[in-house]
Amino acid sequence: MAAVQGDATDEMLMVRYQRGERKAFVELVRRHNRSIYNFVLRQLRVPSVAEDVTQDVFMRLVQNAADFKHEARFLTWLYTIARNLCIDQLRKLSHRRHASLDQPQGDQSDAQLLGDTISDPNPQASAERGALSAEVRSSIVKAVDSLPDDQREVFLLREVANLPFRDIAEITGVGENTVKSRMRYALDRLKEALSDFEEYARALR
């Protein structure tokens, strides 16, 4: 069954879950909870809040499972939910403009910082990413955080969720050319942030 579910598309799993097959939901969570968590974390920048919002995203999926149409694209639907929850949460927390990487995160006992979290080497990360210096990673995070909301949103949906521009346009409710334009600005900003690093110069060659 697991093998079958591993080959199944997200849409097929969602239809199975609509029919009451709970294993399909487990598989969907296993596939997407990491990318959803990262998308939410980059938007909200508070790990504890991101964790709760990630859980809320999947709970919304459970509550609205009957509304899912089998011809719709699952990831588009899932990230639309995540985006809406992030917007709601940002309004509540008012952290959008004021969060700092050095700010203690909520009431966590270990007071883990977002900068530390990102700087923490990830054993499952790709070798390419592992090869980057902590300084470069910090610069990337800072550059992304400094992006305007609309550009950062498009950048995260493209880089973290790996969604095509057409789906991003559907999620954000703007035209595909607008999405590409925002993405181009985001990449240019990132390029400026990375232009002083040796890794970038090597990549250019």
Binding site: F25, V29, V62, D67, I118, L132, L156, E199
Partner: protein
């Protein structure tokens, strides 16, 4: 490809969202255009180096999500559960097999609707020779008994129940044949047989049964018999008539006719018919006339025909002729009435001729006798003279 177009597609190129041809064209353009090559290389390097490092979600997040899902599924409101059930049903209903099955059932159902049995208890619709369906009440078959025949005239043959419509020519031929074979007094019998063959079952069956119907006739009688009380009384009267208990039959028919109802006209006619069997034509003829005047239509015409028959048997040819002339206006009796009138005229002519002959025969002896009486008187004086 030019630089302007390259700028539009450079992101698609970066994320591999271009088709092969456009990708090849973009790469060829980059080989010749330093500007576009720098843009493409810069974006590619940015994406490679600036790939956002992903963070692993906290331990236990997945477990928390699954536990929350389990609780949420238990607390799911009834509307959501129904929605889930409907979604499940819809997913099955949208399958092509289900659609085809539904379409097939719809076709079968509509076919059954259009092919259903027609309402009513008639198995066959009988029509007159003019093609108009006959009603149950306005047609009756009367098969008069031959005055000299002890048994009722039988219907020799008649068509099968499903093929009862005869054309007019065939009817006329049969009537002519019957007429040539039967005595003038019995002429209505074959005519009635034809009418019986063409009459609706409910009436014709009774008429046929009254005349000693065959097995086929009995089948028709059984199928056409009604279940009401009036039908039972009528059937009892017919049974008495059929058995030759004409007095009893007459009494029953008279009661039915006096009570009215759907059988009143036929009962009146059969009552007169029974009376004719009991008391003969002198008593029955006025009764036939009464039925004729009371019940217009085919029953009245039948009664007029019977009355004319009685008059003819009684020798009242003028009254018989008057009835036949009246019947000649009825399309169903027109031919027969004219034939009967011709017969009557012939009969009257024969009677007149016979009367003249008889008168001539009676006048000749008288003349001779008179002549004989005069001769002796004339000769007698002569004799004395001669003797003188």
């Amino acid at each position: 490809m030019d630089c302007e177009k390259f700028d539009r597609i450079v992101l698609d190129l970066l994320y591999d969202e271009l088709d092969e041809l456009t990708t090849a064209a973009a790469k060829r353009h980059m080989e010749h255009c330093a500007r576009c090559k720098a843009i493409g290389s810069g974006l590619r390097a940015t994406r490679e180096v600036g790939a956002l490092p992903l963070v692993e979600p906290p331990d236990g997040l997945e477990l928390r999500i699954l536990q929350a899902e389990e609780q949420a599924a238990q607390l799911l409101p009834i509307g959501k559960r129904l929605g889930r059930g409907l979604s499940l049903l819809a997913s099955y209903a949208m399958r092509p097999q289900v659609s085809m099955a539904a379409l097939l059932m719809l076709m079968i159902g509509s076919s059954l609707f259009f092919l259903r049995a027609q309402p009513g208890d008639r198995e066959h619709v009988l029509v007159t020779e003019r093609g108009v369906p006959e009603s149950d009440n306005d047609s009756v078959t009367i098969i008069p008994k031959k005055p000299d025949a002890p048994e009722p005239a039988r219907v020799a043959t008649h068509p099968a129940p499903t093929a009862r419509v005869e054309d007019g020519a065939a009817r006329r031929d049969r009537a002519t044949e019957s007429k040539s074979e039967a005595a003038p007094a019995a002429a209505p019998a074959p005519v009635a047989a034809e009418r019986y063959a063409a009459a609706p079952r409910s009436e014709a069956t009774r008429g046929g049964a009254a005349l000693g119907a065959s097995d086929d006739d009995k089948d028709l009688e059984g199928s056409g018999r009604a279940s009401t009380d009036s039908d039972a009384s009528y059937d009892a009267a017919m049974a008495a008539y059929r058995d030759g208990r004409y007095s009893e039959a007459q009494r029953h028919f008279d009661e039915i006719a006096s009570l009215g109802g759907p059988h009143a006209a036929n009962a009146a006619l059969y009552g007169a018919q029974a009376l004719r069997r009991v008391s003969g034509c002198p008593t029955a003829a006025p009764r036939f006339e009464e039925v004729h005047s009371r019940y217009p239509g085919s029953v009245g015409s039948d009664a007029a025909w019977q009355a004319a028959d009685c008059y003819r048997s009684l020798g009242e040819l003028a009254r018989a002729r008057a009835n036949y002339e009246q019947l000649s206006a009825d399309p169903s009796y027109k031919t027969r009435a004219k034939e009967a009138i011709a017969e009557l005229d012939q009969r009257v002519a024969d009677q007149e001729l016979a009367a003249r002959k008889a008168a001539t025969a009676a006048a000749a002896p008288a003349a001779s006798a008179a002549a004989k009486g005069k001769a002796p008187a004339a000769s007698a004086p002569a004799k004395p003279a001669a003797s003188k």
